[in-house]
Each structure stands twice: as structure tokens, then as C-alpha cells.
Symmetry: C2
Subunit: 580 residues, 2 copies
């Protein structure tokens, strides 16, 4: 606040000047005093001036509706929505979220420090406040090539930015526990800031070491026992409810009145369709209340606790001097968000963002990210090893993809040889899979075979593939795989399904090859068409692109594939396609 | 932590290296998970490495005693103990306090910025961590002269010091509510830091304005209703239990599990005798538990909550990575403090500080503070106005002092005239009172008459007189008043009782004329002798020097006296001694 603004806020609070806006007939949810009561809420500029009896230039009659602090998502990868930062913001503000703490992990993996800077740039056109934690594990694995790497020296200067709150999920927990030099360097530059954790299933002395290193929170707990142990180490628990990973119901029993201040809500990864249909943090508030959590505590976990954890002063409560980021709820059962104020302005009403789109927000500069070595059909062919034939095929390692699982199973079985090549076989649900470097035009291609997609033909291709986001293509036809790859290059990245040379459906993701530049509803429609096209090819997965996106993540599962080839995850090393 | 120290802490936590110290058979009070359980506490250097099963070079068998985080006093004026910073620290660490947030308000009123710097200097020799909030109201009143004034520009550079946490109690709440320029300037430089409040009885829109200005807390609540209203404005409540002002029992009912994180304990002003006999924060923990507060919450209000409020990272809980500031309690009823570890070292045992005194701590440099214009007997005489006589005395304003009250009553009554002078009269309990500038040798003396001290003769004198700490002398004899004043000058400040030319008792307070350089037990003994001497003069007050110290505080009560003369507090202006 400027001195003058503060003076005006004090004048309004003291009743000497009228407020800009007064919310009348409001039931205030006070997460500090743990009360709900009727009071006028006086707003001046971007601040709450006072609660009591006030006059204002504009009055909203809330007719008994509830005033909550605007919701804050404690940890989110905006990229998972496939939306640009401003469009994501428009989508979630309509559901009552006025601030998020975003980890631009995918942008950072693709574009490095420039990806982080881009999010900070783009956020200026968002109708919510986008805080950043700095992606701590780029690249995520040495077994896949990205174009970038972020060391402590790359991250350090970002801490001078007021929107940067700390270090994002330190996924490399073995590195922490083993006191690895490069990891400790990153912790050191974040000292005095927030350091978020990510340590699924870690316990015992390993967990103690992780906590002792100064890691303050975790959002990977899947059951109450796991969360209880982490809480006991002094860690804050971010309860996560995303699209795939849903931990809310399992963790709620641990939230007691005595410990509630150490819990907060986050979505981590939630796709645009779920954001539009279910909601975001509002969905967690609603569900938590339905599960029996005290509604005031539910709202507190959605706002105040997160603000306190991140040291966000004067945010997260409906009290004087705090930011006028307010979410109005119809009631405390359905928790329908009727209005949302951000910085004292009405920005959403009845589930729609009414703030005008800023034209500049549509063209926040970022260089193109798809840099693929010129592809030819030969790149998609796998020669059969010498001494093998149709009648005497070699044994190969096969990846088994499963819906809603980011891990995989594996098998060894005979390949199909045709014309001296190893080929896909729709009858055995054996598709070819290619991961193509899209960062440095190196021509590096890893290949393998995968079961599970059930394609009768064609190819599906994506430039969203965790965590390096190389181009990944699965298909039954080399020609269609090549066509799909070329189509994605022309789109500057995206998702596509090709069959018999024709693009059945696509979702252009021109921003870093990761997110769309279109409004949420349009992206959701495109995704819907994409799913329909996948069904047309007999794919049994509801979300084939979600499964696809994790087949190159070389740190979880049994067998994966990256631009460096097939990866035996348990050995943490590449292996040849041919099994001896 | 240095990188190397962090590496070692992680090694110990992970079980790869032995700890320096392991506390065995410990019952850990975990204020984060709200549990008490048995675990080894492994300490390396100044940090807790892990809780679980650990080996160490040194082992303490706690035999089932309780391990708490070291207590933190959220708001204390060390000067009220009459002890130097290191001796105060030795006294409270023996009672389990390992950190305090001190407001050096008295040092600042006497010595200005140098007084604040002195506390920061002296704190380096203290066996506790002394954090500072910057005194926000120096001088406290325009109706008394100090040698110093602290504006925003004087305070600003202190914020660069890591021990400085924010702005201390903003007592000038009318200045805040009226958006006074100089007050807002101080708030502005503290933005992003903690701003403590002090607003007795403030409520309604005035309180809203105070909270809207960014004042984050209050320690002046005397009942639960007052505290509830402040909590509702988003303010944190520091529950105070000092020597005079005791709010603990009145406020405890407001501490609910849902709101507990917004409460903390402080002493504000507690004298050395009470510190030695009752204790400090340990006394509050003990009393709160006896009053029915959940013991874990009691410990949390005494440690963790305060650390969170002030943004003190990794302090206030017994969890990995946190500072190894630990207080061991025999049980959770008596709460006897058996051992105290600070920075991983045993510094107190069985109620005694065992850390060696640092000789340098005894002579932390600070210039002398008593600068009084050469005094003669004439300075202590008050000529009777022309036209008055023994038979026809003038009416004068008389101050009525009361024990345990910092306010006063007043009356108008005939003076006693003898030899052309207005004189004291033991028969009517009418003592003379003088307030002598001791900062600038200006020769400014305010004088008046006071009832209540009941002296049969002699004089009592002090250089502790809130908030300007001029020299204040009450007496029945001008000669004894002069002698007492000269004695205090020779002591470089202090407390003294003089009768018939003889010093009956004194307490030298050579540090800023405010605190002793002696150990606590010796100061307590001196104070005891001082009380005995006052009784010898028939003074009915248990603590005459406490009453004396507030007779010049010109912002509360009806009639006071400063170096500028008698002060009509309600008119907020000086008035003549003679009532017309």
C-alpha cells in the first residue's frame, strides 16, 4: 500500500470517508476468530477497510450469502490445465480462487529460466495473483534430454522478484537425504524463503533427514498415517485433490482443530475439463464440508493457512487491512460461488469471469519451443536384427501402459517382423512408440513397443510428455506416426490423432508445446473431440493422452522410453529393445 | 546454517553419523502434531537433527521427563527487571526461556538509537536469543523532555539487523486512527515486518482503523470480550502476565483449539523479585495448565505460536532441523524446569543458569546517562506566592498516588507555608515531589506535592520514571531530597532512600540509570533492603518505587508532574502549582 492509500483505508475504517464498495447483508466467515456473523464489509481500492456498519459509493446486497477470503491454491502446475496463464486464471477465479502458488515445472523443463520468467510475465494479465515457487528439479532425470538445466545459480536471482515465494517441491529426496552438493546448493539459496517438499512414502530416518534439511511441506501424502508422520516432523501438509491423484477424503480425518493450522488445500495437477465441471479449490471446500469438516476450517485450509505458510501478509482473511480478495458463497453446503472480488473489483459472477480479456495477455512473448531434426519415414522404422525373420522373430521388451497409472508393467515377447522391420501389430495390441528430441534438433529418437492403447490403426502424438516434454508418438502405422509428428511441428506443439493420413482431431498447444492460447471452453471442446477420435480408433482409455504423457517419465514404473531409448527404471539405465 | 553444518545435520538425521547429544527416555511435546510420545532427540551443534532412535557422543537420560521447545517471551521490556541484558537472560533461561522479543523502550527513551544498539550489543553475551522490536513511541509524550526522539528515519536502518523483527507496540493509537503523518511513516518503514500493537480498550471503528493500518497484535487486553473483538479484526493476542498487570486467567477462556494459533504468552514488565520467585513464561505455562488449558496448547502458546507470528523460521518446536533450544519439564503439573538447552548446549539445570558469565558482557560499552545541572538547596525550595503566609496559605493542586495504580487522583487543598516557602507536611502526608531533567543538564525542574507515600521524613529518589526517565524525588525534607539527588548522580543512576542525611538503602542502576550491572539475586536483595528502608520511614506501599516511577507518566491518570511542571492529564497541558 502507498502511504496515501493507507491513509484513505484508515479514514474509511474510522468512518470518516465512504468506502468504494460495501457488501451489505453479508455473513462473514472469519477464519481468525472462527466465527460466522453478520457485518458490512467496507472495501477501499484493493483493501478491506473495516467490518461493522459502513457506507459506500457502491453497495452490494448479498442477501445473507457468505463472504469468504478468496481461495488460494497452495501448489499447482498451471500447465496441467493445458491453458495459458491468463485463461487458467479466468477459469479458476470463476470458482473463487483469487491466488495460486504455481510451480512452473513444465515450462521450466522446456524453456529453462525463460519458462519461469514467462509465467511471471503472463501472470500480469491474469485476474488472479500468481505467485511462483521455483522449480527445483530441472531436468528431473539424467535418462532423458531436455534443452535446459536449472542450477542454483540459475534460480538465485528470481528470489528478488516479489512474486517468487520459495523453492518448489524438492522431488529429489534421495539427493536431499544423501546431502548431494547440487541439491544442498538449491536449499541454501532458498534459506529464509519457503521450501516445498515432495516425498511420496518417505518415512523414518530418511524423512527426518528430509525435514532436517529445511523442507517445510509435503503434498504427496496418500493416507492419514503417512501425513501424520510428516506432521510429526514439523512439516505442513498440503492436501491434494487433482484430476488423477485425489487424497482429500483419505487425509481429512487427520485435520483436527488442534492441528488444522498445518493443513492447506492444493490441486497440483488438474485438467481443464475437471476444472470446468468440478471446480478447483471450491470443490475441495465443498467436498470437505460434505465429509464433515467444520465449514470455517474448510475455508481456512483454502485460504488463510496457505497465506500464513507462504508468509503472504494481509491475505487470506476477511479482516481490516487485508487484500479485498473475496469469494461469496451461496451457502455452506453446495458452496456455489456467486461472486468473486479481486483487488476490490468484481471479477466473476455466477461461475463466469467477467473481467475483460487484456489483448496483450494473448500475446505474451515466448519463443517457439519445437526444434525437431527433419524427420523421414526411415526414422520411424526399426530394422529387424540380423538372423531374425517373420518365422523366427526376436524377443523384445514391451511396455504395458495402464489407464490412470503413471507407472507401467513390462513383458518380454516375440516381435513381429515384416519386410526386415519390427512392426506394430493391432491384433496383439502391440503399438510402436517413439520419443523424439524436440529441444535441440539432435535427431535422437528412442523407440520401443507398448501395449494398452488398443489402437486399430493410426497414431496419437503429443508434445506433453513428462518431465522433459519431448515429442512422443504411439501408433500402428509408421506413415501415420510420421504424419502426426509433422502435424505437431506445424502446430508448434500439441496433441493430435492421425489415421490413414488424415488428422482426426488435434489440440494446438503453441505455448512451449505445453498449453493452448485458447479459452478454456474451447480447449475442453477440442479435448472432447480428441477423446472421441481416440475411441474411433478403439482406444479403451478415457484419457489416452494422460497415459501417453507419462510413458517417458523415467523415474517411476518398470519400463519407460525416452529420447535415449528404452529405460529400465529399476536399474535406472537404458536397455536395448531386443531381449536376449 | 552453513552448508557444511546442514550436511552434517542431514547425516545425523539419516543415521549415518552419531549425534553430539541424544536425549534418551524423553517424552516429546510435539506442538505441531499435537502429541506427546517417547522418542530419542538427536542434537547436532545448534540443531535438532532427528527424533526416533539415535546414537550420540553424549547421552542424557531424561527418565521420562518432557522435552518442550524453549519458551519465547513475545513482548518484554527487559528494563523492568532492573537487570542488565545478560543477567536478565541468565535469570529467565533458568526458567526455560531461550528467546525473547524485547522492546527496548526505556533504553530508547533515555539513549535514543544508541539505547537500541546497546541492547543488540549486550545481547551477544546473553545465554538466550534476544530479538528486538523497535520502540515506536519515543518520546511518549510532548509534555516531558527527554534527550532524544526516534523518528522513522532513525529506526529504518535497524531493520537490516537480523535480530530486529519489526516495530514495537504502537502505543500512539490515536495517531494511527487519525492517520497522523509521523506515525504512518513508521508503519511504512516496517511494512513486510511485524508491527505490534498496544491499544487498551480500543474498539469499534477505531479498532478497525488500527487493524487496517497493519497493526498485527495487541497485548493490552484485560478481558475476553476485548480480546475477542481484537481477534475478530485479525489481530494476534499476546496474553500478558507481568508483575503488575496480570491478564492470563481472564483471557484463557478465549483460547479455543480452533483459535489457539492466534495466541501467545508475554510478560511485558516483570520485576526481578517476581522473576526469581514465580518464574517467567514457565509460570504462565504452569498457571494455564492449572486453569485447564490443554498442556500441549500451553506449551505451544509459549513457543511455536510466537515463532510463527514473528516469522522465526525453524524455532519453537521439537522437530528435525529446528534450533536445539529445548526446555525439559519434570512433569506437566508443576512444570518444574529441570534442564535447558540453548543452541544444543546445556545452559541451565535445576533452576540455575550454568553457562559461564562472559567478562565482556559485564562491560558492554554505553556512555553515562545522568546529566543533571548542578543542584543546590534552593532548587528544592518552593517560594510561597506573594500575599500568602502561614496563616493564609495558598491552595495548591495535590497528586494522589496509589499503590499498584499507574493513574492518579487529585485534590485542591491549602499548602503549608513556613519561612516564606511551601513545604512538605508529614502530618497531612503531603510530600514534595521534584522531577529534574537528567538528560540535558538544562536545570529544568518540575515540582508539586503528592499524597500517599506516608513518609515520616527523608526522601526517596529514582532515575527510573516512565517514560522519559528523568530524576524523580519525593520527600518530606528538602535537605534529604537534595542529598538523595546527589547520591543518585554519584551512582550514575539508581534508586535511593535518604533520611536525616544518611543513605538508608540504594540500588545502583548505572546502565542508562535504568538497570543494574549486578546478578539478579544481588539486585533482589538490594530491592528487599530498599523496601525495608521505606517501611522504616512508614511508607505504606509495598513497592514505593513502582508508584514513584509512574508519577511522571503524563499520558495516564488525572494529575502528574514532569520536568515541565504539573500536568493536567485530561487537559493534556501543564498547570501552575497554585490553584486559583
Amino acid at each position: 500500500m502507498t502511504d496515501n492509500h493507507l491513509r484513505d483505508v484508515i479514514d474509511v475504517a474510522a468512518g470518516r470517508k465512504p468506502a468504494d464498495i460495501v457488501l451489505k447483508n453479508a455473513k462473514v466467515i472469519n477464519v481468525v476468530s472462527h466465527e460466522i456473523y453478520e457485518a458490512d464489509v467496507a472495501i477501499l481500492g484493493d483493501r478491506i477497510a473495516g467490518l461493522g456498519t459502513y457506507d459506500g459509493k457502491t453497495t452490494y446486497d448479498l442477501k445473507g450469502r457468505h463472504v469468504c477470503p478468496g481461495f488460494i491454491d497452495a501448489h499447482v502446475h498451471i500447465e496441467s490445465s493445458l491453458l495459458s496463464v491468463p485463461e487458467f486464471a479466468r477459469t479458476v477465479v470463476a470458482r473463487g480462487t483469487t491466488a495460486v502458488v504455481a510451480d512452473p515445472h513444465e515450462f521450466a523443463n522446456v524453456m529453462g529460466a525463460e519458462g519461469i520468467a514467462f509465467v511471471l510475465r503472463a501472470a500480469q494479465y491474469a485476474p488472479i495473483d500468481v505467485f511462483i515457487t521455483l522449480s527445483s528439479c530441472v531436468p528431473a532425470s539424467p535418462l532423458e534430454s531436455t534443452g535446459v538445466a536449472l542450477g542454483a545459480e540459475d534460480l538465485e536471482s528470481f528470489f528478488a522478484n516479489k512474486w517468487v515465494l520459495g523453492l518448489a517441491e524438492v522431488m529429489n529426496y534421495p539427493g536431499v537425504i544423501n546431502a548431494q552438493e547440487d541439491v544442498l546448493k538449491k536449499l541454501a539459496i532458498a534459506a529464509g524463503k519457503v521450501i516445498d517438499g515432495h516425498a511420496p512414502s518417505l518415512s523414518g530416518n530418511g524423512l527426518a533427514a528430509y525435514a532436517a534439511a529445511g523442507i517445510m511441506s509435503d503434498h504427496e501424502c496418500v493416507d492419514a498415517d503417512e501425513a501424520a508422520e510428516k506432521l510429526r516432523q514439523g512439516m505442513y501438509i498440503m492436501i491434494r485433490e487433482g484430476s488423477q491423484t485425489r487424497n482429500l477424503k483419505a487425509l481429512l480425518p487427520l485435520v483436527r482443530k488442534e492441528t488444522a493450522s498445518h493443513f492447506m488445500f492444493c490441486t497440483d495437477d488438474k485438467d481443464v475439463e475437471d476444472l470446468l465441471s468440478e471446480g478447483q479449490i471450491d470443490y475441495m471446500v465443498r467436498t470437505a464440508i460434505a465429509q464433515g469438516l467444520d465449514p470455517i476450517l474448510a475455508v481456512r485450509l483454502a485460504s488463510y493457512n496457505t497465506a500464513r505458510y507462504f508468509g503472504l501478509k494481509q491475505r487470506g482473511a476477511v479482516v481490516p487491512g487485508y487484500h479485498a480478495d473475496l469469494t461469496i458463497l451461496e451457502d455452506l453446503q453446495e458452496c456455489r460461488v456467486t461472486e468473486v472480488f479481486r483487488r476490490g473489483e468484481l471479477v466473476a459472477q455466477d461461475g463466469r469471469c467477467i473481467a475483460p480479456r487484456d489483448a496483450l495477455g494473448q500475446k505474451v512473448p515466448l519463443r517457439s519451443s519445437i526444434d525437431v531434426h527433419w524427420m523421414e519415414i526411415a526414422d520411424f522404422q526399426i530394422p529387424a536384427p540380423e538372423g531374425t525373420s517373420e518365422a523366427s522373430p526376436p524377443n523384445i521388451h514391451v511396455i504395458h501402459a495402464r489407464e490412470n497409472h503413471i507407472d507401467t508393467e513390462r513383458s518380454v515377447e516375440p516381435a513381429v517382423v515384416r519386410n526386415g522391420l519390427l512392426v506394430a501389430d493391432p491384433d496383439r495390441d502391440l503399438a510402436k512408440i517413439m520419443v523424439i528430441d524436440r529441444h535441440r534438433a539432435s535427431g535422437e529418437i528412442g523407440h520401443g513397443f507398448v501395449r494398452g492403447f488398443g489402437l486399430k490403426g493410426g497414431a496419437i502424438a503429443s508434445t506433453v510428455a513428462h518431465d522433459a516434454h519431448n515429442m512422443i508418438i504411439v501408433g500402428m502405422s509408421d506413415d501415420d506416426m510420421l504424419a502426426a509428428g509433422i502435424h505437431l511441428i506445424k502446430l508448434h506443439g500439441g496433441l493430435a490423432i492421425v489415421h490413414e493420413g488424415r488428422v482426426l482431431a488435434d489440440v494446438p498447444l503453441p505455448i512451449a508445446g505445453l498449453v493452448s492460447s485458447e479459452p478454456a471452453e474451447r480447449v475442453a471442446r477440442q479435448l472432447h473431440e480428441l477423446s472421441a477420435a481416440a475411441k474411433q480408433l478403439d482406444c479403451p482409455f478415457e484419457q489416452p493422452f494422460m497415459s501417453l504423457a507419462f510413458l517417458s517419465l523415467s523415474v517411476i514404473g518398470k519400463l519407460k522410453v525416452t529420447n535415449l531409448g528404452l529405460i529400465d527404471v529399476e536399474k535406472f539405465a537404458p536397455i536395448p529393445l531386443i531381449a536376449d
